[in-house]
Amino acid sequence: MINKFPENMSVDTVFDKYCNTVYRLAYARVGNKFDAEDILQTVFLKLCKANVCFNDEEHLKAWLLKVTINCSKNLLKSAFTKLCEPLNDTITAPTHEVSEVYLQVAKLPLKYRTVVHLHYFEGYSCSEIAQITASNEATVKTRLKRARERLQTTLKGEI
């Protein structure tokens, strides 16, 4: 069997290396640990089944982030999620300890917080984000700009 992963990698090393990356993006998008864990599992199962050969690690990482976005999109779009009350982390498990900055980002609309996460945390450029989120580079730029504007009003002086 051909190893679809970049050299010296296997599914468990990929998981160890990228599970936090996937989880963080999922968490930034869905905002609770239960859905984020679900997405984490789905993304890596898709990786196992995927019929792709990765050129390098960058390719693999971008693929994982793209699939994470799609999986969380499916979840957020589903009728079930729309009809149900969101799960509240704090009821059953201690939530992750974060500062005001994270909380304010979490309050941004989904499309804004996705680009904020990819840009400020993952360090992707606008053109790379455009590829990952399957949108136009100009759109990404606008979103990032608007997100910054909103954060400037809520987080005075931080940005």
């Binding site: 599914v11 859905d35 864990e37 300890e97």
Partner: protein, 635 residues
Amino acid sequence: MFEEKYRTDNQSIVPDEQAKRYIKAKIIQNSQPKRINFNAIIAIALSLVLALGVTLIAKKPVPINQYVGESTLMENLTYDTIYNSINKYMQKQSYDSFIDIMDDGFAYLIGGLARDEAATGTAEPSAGQDNGTVNLKGESSTTNNQVQGVDEADLVKNDGRYIYSIKDGFLVVTDSNNGNPKLVTKKSLTTGGETVTGLYVNGNRLAVIIESYRFSGSYAPNVKIAVLDITDKENIKVIKEINQNGYYNSSRMIGDTVYLLSNHYVRDNIDRDKAETYVPCVDNAAIRETDICVIEDFESPSYLVVSSVDMEKGEIIDNTAILGGAQNVYCNNENLFYTFTKNEKSEAGGKVEYKNETTIVKLSLKNGIIKTEATGKVMGMPLNQFSMDEYQNNLRIVTTVDITTHSKSSSFVSSADSTTKNALYVLDKDLKQIGQIEDLAKGERVYSVRFSGEVGYFVTFKQVDPLFTVDLKDPADPKILSELKIPGFSEYLHPYGEGRLFGFGKSATEQGAVTGLKISMFDVSNPADVSELHLSSVPADWSEASETHKAIMVDAKKNIIAFIATDDVAKTRLFVYGYSEGNGFFKKAEAKLTNDSFYYGARLLWINDYFYVVTKDSIVTFSLDTFEKLNTIEF
């Protein structure tokens, strides 16, 4: 500044270690095509389906293969053949990751689920049997058992005068004292890491079921039954303790014999020379090879262990272990049936199809001697113990069949590929299928089942609640007599006097959105034309009675329907209803207990003219006649 903080915040956002290990194990299993555990995939797929929850959309029925294979029972084994079976299995599967998950408490979950399910479904097959046992001391209610004469363990028991309950590992004995309860004694029964799951009382003996999940180097689940002499209430003595090294599944008491059932998972470090590494132990001794059976195509290397214990002497009468796993347990006075469900994969015309099948195992129980009698297989999965009933040597079982199909090329399953249907099977004394009704209520699931002699009732639900009535007079040809559709569903059914069936459940809108609790009374006097005579919505949203039949009291003779329920502002109340033919349900009481807190594990009982609400911290008494609140005692 922003960037830095956002980065720091994100550093702390990581999945739980436990979730990580669990997901990793799943992924590793899935990345090895030759060792795929199809069960795990389907479990994930189904859980995803549930998570995505697109079950609201109607699905196309999928043609399925009706053939269900037989399962063979291997008996008269030696330790060597048992070892070989397990070893063969382990070579086949990547078992390590499975057991890793077990250690992370997954097994506890499974054990817990099976146990909860077992607990979920009991009540008597005919009306007003709760008031069965008449004690020398007085008339009193018993646990809401499924089958008359077969007692089920519960957190609270009474013997007509004394009330036995559990508070944080202590046994609490209270003298009911005609509505003015007095604490007699408190006795510690547990050490660290142990919890008490159930009690049985029988004359001057009390049996206590204690579970522990101790971690001592390796993971060592244990369940023990302690037999206590309660002749002198002030000085209760432990006579004997019997240990099984597994997860508690269920138990029953028939006459003076208690049957204790546990699930034992074989670990991966098995050793041919040490039987205890692949055979379950009772009191630290491996079960004899002659007492072990193997179901040939077992799905997981786990045993069901059954021990019968004489209550008077506190001694083991017999032990049996069956390799193959166990979930739901139904037990009547002669036989015990248990089930385990697995997913079967089949491939046809470029399509891969998974559907669940249930293996049923029949054990006979005669004066404590346990004998494996037969095994059989049906499609689908039973809901709980009420899904099964034996009548005139035939077993009837109602199941929900989950079917998932997808094309071979895309192995990822979307919710649109899954559907359900429901079925009823009749099996003869050797568990050979003799009659069936299949393909019922496609896209829905069974929510409750009750059999009453020649008639069976079951409720399925997606948007509206059809109550099916089945004629089982001719076991080879069961017939649907009627199908009543009403909004909402019943989660528990209980015959209520002549021609009436009581249902406890949830109300729902026409679109299927659940709105709150409801109680219904069905007219079943003409099985061909069942109707809902009366219904009443309960001003509350959640009750433990939805989860276990032991939390509800349904007593047609006394005309009492009682349960505790909590509303959305966390206000907990005791609700007592009566029923009259003319006016339907009427409220006898809606009472606040000691405080507004959530009473998980609270039980209701009556002794002579008084009604008692027993929680782990208190007993509140009411007059059985007027339901006036009388006394409260807190421990």
